[in-house]
Each structure stands twice: as C-alpha cells, then as structure tokens.
C-alpha cells in the first residue's frame, strides 16, 4: 500500500485525471491503493464482483476469455497509463472478462464500491466521474469495432484491401 501523498502525485501526473477538482481528487486518493500483481495473477475475474478499476502504472494486462479445451483468447492487451475496468459502475457490477497480468504489473486500484455510493449521493460528483469514464468506454468500443473490421486481412472489407500489389 502506497502513501496517500504518493498516490496524489500519481493522480496529478496522469492524463485520465486532467483538470480534476479538489474534492474528487481527495475522494479518489482516499479510495486508491497501490497494488502489484505477479505474472499470471488476475486483476479481474469474469462473473465476479467488479469492485475496482485500475490505472496501470507498469507491465501488461491481458483482457481475455477462457475457452474450455483451448488457450484463453486474448481480446486486447493493456499497458502503462491505461485505465482498466468499467464494470464497477454498470449494474450488476460484475466483471465481463478476465484481466490477467502477463508480466509483473504495478497498478493503482480504486475502490469502486465506495465511489459508487458517493456518486449516487452526489450527482455532480457522479457526472464528473462518468465524464472521465465514458471516453474510456467509447475508446474501448471503437477499438473493438476496429478489431472486428479485420483491418489487415485479405478478405476483409469487401476486398478493398491494401497489400503491396496495387492491382492484379
């Protein structure tokens, strides 16, 4: 567990918290914790309570789905500076995917349960938090859609494909 003072510095330095007001900052510092995950450890488990979100400070996290009889399918990897987890603010507050550290991961975790209550009690605060998370969610959705496009495959997008034969 880090000191609140260090946590404050980390928050101040991160673009996710750009322009944050003092009240929310104090609140976030109060519900943040420094965590470390060894390779293979899970930050989130599919179907389990999603009570946290993470600001990854180092290492790589794989967001993945377990497939019986096969290796887990990695949907995307996330690294330094990225924000992981938004199920904590969407009922029923259950993680949709597994999030696994593929190497040693350092992260700040934030207590979503505590934050949820405060957001419900104080809509202005709730709006402030939401307006930081909606872009994260939108970005995630865009990336997923782009992945669906299969941008580099031969058969993708109706054949309008770049490869380095410009014609025949």
């Amino acid at each position: 567990m880090g000191q609140p003072h260090d946590l404050g510095n980390i928050i101040d330095a991160h673009p996710f918290f750009d322009g944050i007001d003092a009240e929310l900052r104090t609140l976030l510092v109060g519900c943040a914790a420094n965590e470390r995950f060894e390779p293979g450890e899970f930050l989130l488990r599919e179907g389990k309570a999603a009570d946290k979100f993470f600001l990854i400070r180092g290492g790589t996290v794989a967001v993945e789905v377990d497939v019986p009889g096969k290796k887990p399918i990695i949907l995307e990897t996330m690294g330094e500076g990225e924000v992981l987890g938004w199920s904590w603010m969407v009922a029923p507050f259950m993680a949709t995917f597994d999030a696994r550290a593929t190497v040693a991961v350092r992260a700040l975790s934030f207590d979503g349960k505590c934050l949820r209550k405060k957001m419900a009690a104080d809509p202005a605060l709730g709006y402030a938090v939401m307006s930081r998370f909606v872009p994260v969610m939108a970005h995630r959705l865009q990336q997923t859609r782009m992945q669906l496009l299969d941008l580099y495959g031969v058969d993708a997008e109706g054949g309008k494909k770049k490869k380095k034969g410009k014609g025949d």
Binding site: E76, M146, L151, Y152, K162, K163, K164, G167
Partner: protein
C-alpha cells in the same frame, strides 16, 4: 520514330537473383538489371512489373534506397500477375517500368520525430523510408515503428523487426488483432499504439501505410494525439494500368494516384476519404 526510345510503356529487363518467402502468400524478390546498369529510386515509389505474356502489376519497392545494385520488391500473391511473379525462379527475367510516384518526404522530416504506422503488408512500402531514416539517424528525434498485423503469423519481416527492436535508437511496437501460438506481445489494433504516444506530437512527422480503412483510422488517431494533418502522410492504392498518368484508371478525385501519389499528405486528401466509391 525516335521518340520510341523514350516510350514510357516499354519495360526494362531485370533478372531474379533471389526469392524469399515471407508469409504464406507473400514473398520478396531481389532483381538486378539484366543488361547491366543500376537502379535508383526514392522511398515510397513503385514499379510496374511485367511477367512475359501475363501482364503487369504495380508493386511498391521494399528495398533500401541507398542500394543501387539490386531492386527489392515484396509482393502478396493475390491475382493473376502477382501469382505469376510468385511462380518465378532465380534466373527468370521480368520487365520493370519505373520508378514512379511521389515518395515519402523523409528529408523534409529532418529534425523531427518520425513515426511509421504500418498495417499488414503495408510495412513493405514503408521499409525503404525506415532504412533511409536509420541511415540518417542523427537527423531525427525519435524514430518509432508502430506495426499492426492480423495474427503473429502475419507479421512481415519478423527477423528484421526483432533486430530493430534490439536497437537503442529505435522504438518498435507490434500489435496483433488475434493472439495465436506463443504470442506474448500486444493484442489490439494499431491505432492503440498510436494512442499510447511516446512521440512529441507537435514535432512529429508520421508515415502511414496499410489498408485504406486502417490508414483512415490511424490518421485520425494521430490527429487526436495532436499531430497536424500536414505532418501525416499516407500511401494510396488504386487500379493502375500505366503508372504514368495516361490510362486514367487510378483517378481519385482530382488526383492520379500513380503520379500525384501514391504518397499523399493527409490534409490534401482527408476529405476524399469520406466520399464513398470515389
């Protein structure tokens, strides 16, 4: 007529010196002029390659512009002519017309961070510019290669990327849409790598090459990051029959992709990207 010697439609014979399989459907050929002499080109230019009796196809040059002895092309076999190129053996002779087109403005990026964003086999037309940048390494700030491929098996120039990655003066990041096998690297689209940054957006020139849709999103991601439209360049692809602006096929709005491109500054074509079936 004496003008015959200058006929831009006549190919020059080149002999296949070496063929290297890159991916299941992609290969690299090294060619030397069959009648001697050298070959000069600028990074980003292409040639029309003619296979005897089969036809011609435009292919970007993937070799080092500092090398004048041999010509290097990396091609994906997707059609009649590229399939015939794939069937060539060492010693076979093909016809070459070129080099044609507007190159990557490598020298105009001196003094800046240089970011290469590649998708799939779009890495091939960028490679000459990467060579040129590394040959002039001291003239740039950061040199970054951000590369996205479908799966780890689709990564082009794998060994070379490993070598680049091992250099201290180059930042290389690779991501795949789908992790397979023992892949332990990034998973996600190449725009994610752009979003992570690591370059100074105000002082960055970006060269983007890949499928058109990928280039559109990569350019948007660069712009979102703060790179100006005038500092982003893309390499376009259209049907080409002549390569020199005479056949009309490659028209894209006001442009002939063969002679006004294939490399375009993003601000000059961004509007065209949003017009369907142009």
């Amino acid at each position: 007529m004496s003008a015959h010697a200058k006929d831009p439609m006549l190919p020059r014979p080149f002999r296949v010196e070496k063929v290297k399989r890159e991916l299941s459907d992609t290969f690299t050929m090294e060619l030397v002029p069959a009648e001697g002499g050298g070959f000069s080109f600028a990074a980003g230019q292409f040639n029309m390659l003619y296979v005897f009796g089969i036809g011609e196809v435009p292919i970007s040059i993937s070799g080092d512009p500092g090398e004048h002895e041999r010509l290097v092309h990396t091609t994906r076999a997707v059609g009649k002519v590229s399939g015939a190129l794939d069937a060539l053996k060492v010693g076979d002779v093909i016809g070459v017309r070129g080099p044609y087109g507007i190159p990557w403005p490598v020298e105009a990026a001196f003094g800046r961070d240089l970011v290469f964003v590649a998708g799939g086999v779009g890495l091939a037309p960028l490679r000459p510019a990467i060579y040129q940048a590394m040959a002039n390494r001291e003239r740039f700030g950061k040199v970054m290669v951000l590369y996205g491929a479908r799966t780890p098996e689709d990564i082009l120039f794998k060994k070379e990327i490993e070598r680049w990655r091992g250099r201290f003066d180059m930042d290389v990041a690779v991501t795949v849409d789908r992790a397979t096998g023992k892949w332990g690297g990034n998973v996600g689209v190449v725009t994610n790598l752009v979003a992570k940054g690591g370059f100074d957006p105000q002082n960055t020139t970006a060269f983007v090459c890949g499928p058109e849709v990928m280039m559109r999103y990569a350019a948007q991601a660069l712009e979102k990051k703060g790179v100006g439209r005038g500092s982003i360049f893309v390499s376009m692809e259209r049907n080409m029959k002549c390569g020199v602006g005479l056949c009309g096929h490659c028209q894209w709005g006001t442009h002939f992709v063969c002679k006004d491109g294939p490399v375009f500054r993003y601000d000059s074509i961004a509007d065209l990207f949003s017009i369907r079936e142009l």
